[in-house]
């Protein structure tokens, strides 16, 4: 009983830590600003582009992370250790530095070729998605790999004995079995994507109604010492994002039952 209480105590501590931070926002909160901000066309645009970019980046990340994680979890191939090590790379490099690296990359011949011949990323909304994708795909792969590592190979083997091809076995057995891990990974990816700022602003710039995501908007307020405005925007970001994540989680839980 005591251990149970102790562990719950720790869980609640983590909660209180974050709650405390959120609540202290109210110290600078001005109700009037909140509605004003919510109704401004510019903020609405920021909300829209934030949601779209984060969602697209998350989908891209997960779609690529799924097979990549599967390969890392199941197969042995040359360079696997190397790949496994580099996945944390976007975590280690702070977002601003990562943004700079992206710019540097687009300054290399390959980067320039990509800019000129495929999609132009620098200073466009695609840049937002790219920045978020680059920051998240590594972690997404890591998280999904961790989940797949826990699924015994055995189920796939048995599926194969029932006639499933490797691909079918993956889609019908391993994937659904690691569903919880994939969803958790997706949620984290999305959260990271929607909160991504440093790389975004570096590569996509900060033009209002063009590449101004919510975190960029928060930065703009902060940069003009508008603490009240900052607080309101942070609150908008937190409430939208947490509500969506709560909804996704609820949905996933319902489907499980």
């Amino acid at each position: 009983m005591t251990f149970k209480r102790l562990s719950i105590f720790f869980a609640i501590s983590v909660f209180l830590l974050y709650l405390g931070l959120v609540l202290s926002l109210f110290y600078f909160y001005k109700g009037s600003l909140f509605m004003e901000a919510l109704l401004s066309e510019r903020i609405l645009y920021s909300i829209k582009i934030s949601l779209i970019a984060a969602t697209v980046a998350t989908v891209l990340s997960i779609v690529i992370a799924l097979p990549a994680a599967y390969a890392l979890s199941r197969f042995d191939f040359k360079g696997k250790q190397l790949i496994d090590t580099i996945l944390e790379f976007p975590m280690i490099v702070s977002p601003a530095a990562l943004g700079a690296m992206l710019l540097i990359f687009f300054n290399t011949p390959i980067g320039m070729w990509i800019q000129d011949n495929t999609i132009s990323f620098v200073f466009t909304a695609y840049g937002i998605i790219l920045a978020q994708f680059v920051t998240t795909v590594g972690i997404a792969t890591r998280l999904i790999k961790a989940a797949m590592d826990e699924i015994p190979q055995r189920y796939e083997d048995v599926a194969r004995s029932l006639g499933a091809s490797p691909m079918e076995a993956f889609l019908t057995v391993t994937l659904p079995l690691s569903k919880r891990g994939v969803i958790a990974g997706g949620i984290l990816t999305w959260a990271k994507a929607i909160g991504e700022f440093g790389a975004t602003i570096t590569i996509a710039g900060s033009m209002a109604m063009k590449t101004e995501t919510l975190p960029v908007a928060i930065f703009m307020r902060l940069a003009t010492a508008d603490i009240e405005g900052t607080v309101v925007l942070i609150m908008i970001l937190i409430s939208i994002a947490l509500t969506i994540l709560y909804g996704v989680r609820l949905l996933a839980r319902k489907q499980d039952a």
Binding site: L103, I201, M209, A223, T224
Partner: protein, 260 residues
């Protein structure tokens, strides 16, 4: 020993480090310098209610912190003057000679965000004054992005994402190998920028803070800024610009620059 806490915009880090160590040697006072982006140092000064000396790269920011009561207006001093110029790649490969060249289709052009970056505001003001309405809207359409701070603006140029930026003359000092300056015509420039420093309201050691500011403004200090490519005095700055100009102040430009 006594201690001073300094908040400074990161752009001044190199000269400021030198000044701090000289000052420390001279007075024996220990100076803790916290550098950061403008937003960082501002939130730090506003929210921590600590520190003695506040150093920012432009007057608009100083105005804001004064309004917040963080810095005493009467203690504010200007130093390290900066003149708006066009910055281009070394050797000026696109052969940019003036503002009008920025309108050319083959010139990729970026400026700083006029909403919260002083050089962005200056640029908008300059364009509003010197270009025709048609040219202005053309430029507004072709500007590839607004940079959210001065170093990023320069990075875009160095990393060859743009051919020209409207920046400050000291940028050449930051990166002499890759950049070149194209001066504006004297009457195109409305005002110049200056780094500003002041004593923080919450300072518990005003005397020392004032002493440090004085040292910063001394010839010894000015020379260090000169070394890093800044115009050390008003006079030099006006010489460079070609005429006497307002220092700091609120640039005037149309709202179109912020929201198109």
């Amino acid at each position: 020993a006594e201690e001073l806490q300094l908040f400074s915009g990161a752009a001044f880090k190199k000269p400021m480090d030198e000044i701090v160590s000289l000052y420390e040697k001279k007075t024996g006072t220990r100076v803790y310098a916290a550098y950061g982006s403008v937003k960082t140092v501002m939130s730090q000064a506003i929210l921590t209610k600590q520190g003695d000396v506040f150093v920012v790269p432009s007057s608009d920011i100083m105005d804001k912190v004064v309004k917040k009561g963080v810095v005493q207006r009467e203690t504010i001093k200007s130093f390290a003057y900066a003149v708006p110029v066009i910055v281009v790649h070394k050797g000026n490969p696109k052969n940019i000679k003036g503002l009008k060249d920025l309108l050319r289709d083959d010139v990729r052009f970026a400026m700083a965000n006029p909403e919260n970056v002083y050089i962005g505001m200056l640029a908008a003001e300059i364009f509003d004054r010197s270009l025709s309405p048609g040219e202005i809207s053309k430029l507004q359409k072709k500007v590839v992005t607004y940079a959210d701070d001065v170093p990023k603006l320069l990075s875009y140029l160095i990393l060859n994402q743009v051919d020209a930026i409207l920046g400050f003359d000291f940028m050449k000092g930051w990166n002499p190998d890759k950049t070149e300056i194209v001066k504006l015509k004297p009457d195109e420039i409305v005002r110049i920028s200056a780094g500003q420093t002041g004593v923080i309201t919450y300072s518990k050691n005003r005397e020392r803070a004032k002493e440090f500011i004085d040292f910063l403004l001394s010839t010894q200090g000015q020379n260090i800024f000169k070394k890093y490519g800044y115009q050390a005095s008003e006079k030099e700055a006006f010489n460079f610009a070609g005429k006497k100009l307002e220092i700091g102040g609120e640039p005037e430009f149309s709202g179109n620059w912020i929201k198109q």
